[in-house]
């Protein structure tokens, strides 16, 4: 009974919360800019509207363009199920499946298809966006792998749930957590790496890639983005929470609640950051991401020393 309840809540949460989080971020950002801003539930409205619009596809597009959003969304959903962004999992039988390398490469699969789809239409923007996306992920992925590996070293396992079940040193946790936040900013194409709201072609990365999408396709992409936001911020939040040793000792439900709250908080923080930062020149993005790399390297060094 209890298990059923938890499962239900978890699933519903998994489906709803990401959009909600996006809504919150937008709202806070609007407030930062002294706008009233759209209601927090706006993403839901957007989705339902997009699903009700006709889809327009470029004549030069192929099946890649059509299928990439579907696979992307599916990958995002599965990853969201696998990643303990809420401090727990649907069922512990999946522990081996929560391998962080698997997660990273699954997300890479989604990205791979998105980039292909962007080039598929034969528009210049698509290519530009894809190229930049590739560059960013080239800069981010090593950071992610090294950082999480540093966490994993303590636990002696590459499965996220095991990692987060084991106690980890606060220092490593904080370093990796902050590295993850920076990485998340880049991966989710947020300020200062990318401006999700801009429509000046030269500044956009993710928007440039999905420029050709409309209606259902766009809906799926938006939803996938929301899920990925949740995944990355969730990972960051979990890691930061583990800096507080008592956290692992808490019962599951508490942890669940705290994770949700911390996610929201992190979302707000990101929004504030977006309000404060200006978008970086494209050439200086690597320097910014170097911070994350340095932090995860430090974490790796400490972890290697502590084992």
């Amino acid at each position: 009974m209890n298990a059923w309840l938890i499962t239900l809540i978890y699933l519903i949460n998994l489906l709803i919360f990401p959009l909600f989080l996006v809504g919150i971020i937008r709202k806070v950002k609007a407030l930062m800019q002294n706008r009233k801003g759209a209601p927090v539930l706006q993403p839901f409205y957007d989705l339902s509207k997009l699903l009700r619009k006709t889809e327009t596809i470029s004549g030069s597009a192929s099946w890649v363009f059509v299928w990439s959003p579907r696979v992307g969304l599916a990958v995002a959903l599965i990853t969201a199920v696998l990643v303990p962004w809420a401090g727990t999992l649907l069922t512990p039988n999946w522990v081996p499946a929560t391998n962080f390398l698997l997660v990273i490469y699954l997300l890479a699969l989604g990205k791979f298809l998105t980039m292909l789809a962007a080039i598929d239409t034969g528009s210049a923007f698509g290519g530009l966006g894809a190229s930049r996306e590739a560059t960013i992920s080239m800069l981010v992925e090593p950071t992610l792998v090294i950082g999480i590996a540093a966490l994993a070293l303590g636990a002696g396992s590459t499965n996220l749930l095991t990692i987060y079940a084991a106690p980890m040193s606060p220092l490593v946790a904080i370093l990796v957590g902050s590295a993850l936040v920076v990485a998340a900013l880049a991966e989710l194409s947020r300020m200062p790496v990318d401006d999700p709201t801009t429509h000046l072609e030269l500044t956009m990365v993710h928007e440039a890639m999905i420029l050709e999408y409309s209606g259902r396709g766009l809906a799926m992409i938006e939803y996938a983005v929301a899920l990925r936001t949740c995944i990355f911020l969730g990972l960051a939040a979990q890691t930061l929470l583990h800096a507080w040793p008592a956290y692992t000792a808490l019962p599951v439900t508490f942890r669940y609640g705290i994770s949700i709250l911390s996610l929201i908080a992190l979302g707000k923080a990101v929004a504030v950051a977006e309000g404060i930062f200006v978008k970086l020149k494209w050439r200086s993005v690597p320097n910014f991401l170097a911070f994350a790399a340095v932090m995860s390297l430090l974490a790796a060094l400490i972890a290697a020393a502590q084992i």
């Binding site: 890479a108 698509g126 050709e212």
Partner: protein, 662 residues
Amino acid sequence: MSVSEFMGGSGIWCGAAVLLWLAVAVAGLLKRKYSGSALSVLTIIGCAFLLLAAIFGRNCSLAFPLPWYLGDSRFSFVIDPLSRWFLAIIGVVGIPVALFSPGYLRHMRQRISLGFVWAALALLLATMVGVILAANAIVFLVAWEVMAASSFALVIADHEQRDIRRAAFIYLGATRTGSAFLMAGFLWAHQLTGSWSFSEWSLSGVSALGPALLIFVGLATKAGSWPFHLWLPIAHPAAPAPVSAIMSGVMIKTAIYAMARFFVVGGSFSVPAIGPIILILGAISAFWGVIFALLQHDLKRLLAYHSVENIGIIMMGLGISLLGKRYHVPLLAQLGLAAALFHTLNHAIFKSLLFLGAGAVDTRTHLRNVEKLGGLIHRMPWTAGAFVVGSAAICALPPLNGFASEWMLYQGFFAFAQHGHSVGTRMGALLLMGWLALIGALAIACFVKAVGVVFLGNPRSQQAEHATEAGRGMVIAQMLLAFMCIGLGLAAPLILSPLGKIAAQMGSPSLLRRTWTIPIGLLALLLIVTVGVLAIWMRQLSRSLPVRRFITWECGFGDLGPRTQYTAASFAQPISRIFGAIYGYALEVTVKGRHRRHFPETVTAETMHEAHLETKIYVPILKSIHRMSGNFLMRLQAGSVHQYLIYMALVLALLLWIGVGR
């Protein structure tokens, strides 16, 4: 052992395959204007025999009876799990290649004699089997050299083009230089052990270092590892596509086999220093290969550089396996070896798939410069599909085979990070994980570029415009390989049992079963189901709201021409600029026109880079030898008989000094 015993084992099948191929070679040489279909069938049967030998055969060994003898050693062969693994690789790649070739070679019929190509191809396959089965150094060397010669014949098949001749001779020279090192190493080892047969070589300590290093250099040259890789990106593009597939997929792997045999499994050499060397060279060449691949505009050259990259990854696996042996961590040793061997198989499959795809494009468009292609996915859908699968596999994306092996390699690094004896090694292992991730991301960038520019978007040239789907045989071959990519990805846990057998050759019982944790099949199923559900849902929606086809958004200007698409060069530019220091990357933009600022008439932009290793090291060495030879001739053989007589007088003086003096 005796012949009869050999019959019982895999030998009969290998023997049959080799004989079949030799028959093909003879037939090809005798009847040079062959259509090829008959030969291809025979070749395929040979490969099938080989697969039987690999899968069902028992371990065994053979020595030819007298008078067949190589002066100093018998013709002796041995088959064990390791060699069976590589036999399987030959068979697995050989079949699709033989399927593909007739269709491909048809478009070169005027320029090359098909029978010759078939003969060389069959000979290459046979000699590769010889290399894999050789039980002693001399047999190995004989097979090795004939393999080099036959592959040279294949590279130079289309010999009327100057640059192809050049490539072939560079290849021949490089490979001979490599085998010179190999020879030296073998001789030295023979001095130390007094035997030619690998099984009796058990060298260790300082004395083993010399031969081990020499042999390693020889093998690394063939494998195309940094810094000995210079021939690889030159030779592979020059060869016909199926040949590139065989060379890149299998032939360079024979060197990996030898490394595994000498240093890891067989334990002929237990030299601590070799492990780190292999690991570091592997790490460098993996990175080197991929960043140079990113710059290439010739599709096959790009793929060739990716071979350098993947050889690097494989060598990293071997390296940590050796470190595992060194620190007595069986798990690590076995993980490394298993990852390396598994990736060898996987790379053989997806790289040959990609080369065949490039070949298919070549036959239909007669273009290899990616900047001239585009939009082929509409014109050759099957080839495109297979190519996408291959690209995803080489980028190690789940649930394909590339991911499986690279995941094992990650696990190996992680295990190394756990069992490392010092902070430095543990840190190093973590860094290697990041390094591998970096390489993976770069590979993704590179193949998004390749697929995107070649197959997606709009055609950039007439040839691409009028391309048609490749012939049936070619498509089937590619499909076969694509399915293998998927199948091996899902069946990864099953592959562990033969790998376990090989790992057990290292002494300790296999621990690999436990290492594979992720339920890849289940996840793939889940993925398919989810995608399916989404697709059905979308179908439902599109009933009411059908999809509208329209032109790509062109910002209000008229219809977009193909020239407005993003080019490969511009795609690669951001990353190339980041690593620009390594190969002097530069972008030359020249604007011409009356008022250049406002009314440019022509704007040309071209990127340029320089491979310093070649230009700064290899070319000068060759030049100096050439010059030395020239001077030598000028001075010595100047044509004056008096001068020659003076030489004689000088020699007389020297000899007198020796004869009288001592």
